[in-house]
């Protein structure tokens, strides 16, 4: 009981793949200008991490050590193709927004990292939970960054106007810089700072 809790909860804060281990940054930042693509991206990565961990863990005794990387890449690529086709069918506009970044889930280091570090040594159920936890930890950071970027950059959340009109009349302006790529890096730097100083004091 406590074991599965540990596997899912720990990656959210203590061993967060993005802020602590610094994996999977690549695809993480480009999709965070708005909240909606960030949510979709987080969900896709969680699904791929959990399922690929499960599959590799089931296959782990049959994979020769020398060619394991290519086997892992094939499994992950197949899952990503399925996600991509699914998004194209059911959420076309989001899939257009994410463009190449869906494909880049394949080279997301979180997935390869978890496969190498966890799924090759552990049973299917634990691996599945570990993948789930890490995927959720990744999504958490994605959503935090996207929340601030969309709120400060366009004054909306999930496309709905949040900052009231009276603010604009009083002279408030959206910070256009928040939508541009460099601010994603700065926001995540600050998130890491806060996270690090919190975990240190405990």
């Amino acid at each position: 009981m406590s074991n599965w809790k540990k596997l899912v909860i720990e990656p959210l804060r203590k061993t967060n793949p993005v802020t602590v281990l610094v994996l999977g940054i690549c695809s993480c930042l480009a999709v965070t200008a708005q909240l909606k693509p960030a949510l979709v991206m987080g969900a896709s990565v969680t699904v791929v991490t959990a399922l690929s961990n499960l599959i590799i863990s089931l296959l782990r005794k049959g994979i020769p050590n020398r060619i394991r990387i290519i086997v892992q890449l094939v499994v992950v690529a197949t899952l990503v193709i399925m996600i991509d086709q699914f998004l194209k069918a059911f959420a076309y506009d989001v899939s257009k927004q994410l463009s190449v970044y869906v494909g880049l889930i394949i080279t997301n280091c979180i997935i390869m990292g978890r496969l190498e570090a966890f799924a090759l040594q552990n049973g299917p159920w634990e691996s599945f939970l570990d993948g789930l936890g890490n995927g959720l930890g990744y999504s958490l950071i994605l959503v935090i960054v996207a929340f601030f970027r969309e709120l400060l950059g366009s004054g909306t959340l999930l496309g709905y106007q949040v900052i009231p009109q009276s603010f604009y009349e009083a002279g408030y302006q959206n910070n256009g810089l928040m939508i541009l790529p460099p601010m994603a890096l700065i926001v995540i730097g600050i998130v890491i700072w806060i996270n690090n100083s919190k975990t240190e004091t405990k």
């Binding site: 610094v22 094939v74 880049l104």
Partner: protein, 204 residues
């Protein structure tokens, strides 16, 4: 589009790191000293120059809708584009492996300089990303694809060498405890990105 402006554009304006955040993982992990980051940058450039044109050919003659019509007109309606990811990544992994073997046999000196980085590159997002962008933008011929690969690689080399130089100096400065290491590297990259945005207006 003429090749020169494509080259300048892919180095400075569409910089892989500052505009698309591709290859950030190794960018942050390896950028501790200038020497190793220049080595990795060179290896990435090298692999990009080879893989992007090859993937261009794969895309043109195998994957894009109706691409198989050169085999027989009956196949003109076949669309294999859903296989893009799996084929591109397989090609990249294979090319990296072949390059490593070739370099090891013919130029041992280069191999000892690049050696440890080459296997890492197969899972570098910049490589796959560059091929996917190439496919998305639909370049007209193989020359453009090669120049795009070269430019993106050099842009990446430029970015990683610059941040490594800054991080070497950073060791002597006082940084708040929680921000040390990765945190400050992110913020600096962000500021460098702001500086690179100045190139956006360039028209050649």
């Amino acid at each position: 589009m003429n090749l020169f402006s494509l080259f300048i554009k892919s180095v400075f304006v569409d910089n892989m790191i500052f505009a698309y955040f591709l290859g950030m993982c190794s960018y942050l992990a390896v950028s501790k000293t200038v020497k190793t980051s220049a080595g990795l940058g060179l290896a990435v450039t090298f692999v990009l120059v080879v893989t992007v044109p090859v993937n261009y050919l794969i895309n043109k003659y195998l994957l894009s809708p109706g691409a198989l019509s050169w085999l027989s007109p009956k196949l003109a309606s076949v669309d294999l584009s859903f296989l893009t990811y799996i084929l591109f990544i397989a090609i990249i992994a294979a090319i990296v492996q072949i390059l490593e073997m070739l370099i090891e046999t013919f130029t041992p000196a280069l191999h000892s300089a690049l050696g440890i980085f080459l296997p890492l590159i197969a899972v570098n997002c910049a490589i796959l990303g560059c091929s996917l962008f190439m496919q998305e933008r639909g370049f007209g011929n193989i020359g453009e694809a090669a120049v795009y690969g070269l430019g993106s690689g050099l842009g990446w080399l430029l970015a990683i060498t610059a941040i490594a130089a800054i991080r070497e100096k950073l060791r002597y400065s006082k940084i708040p405890k929680g921000l040390q290491g990765v945190g400050i590297a992110f913020i600096i990259t962000g500021l460098m990105g702001v500086a690179f945005m100045a190139f956006m207006g360039i028209k050649i």
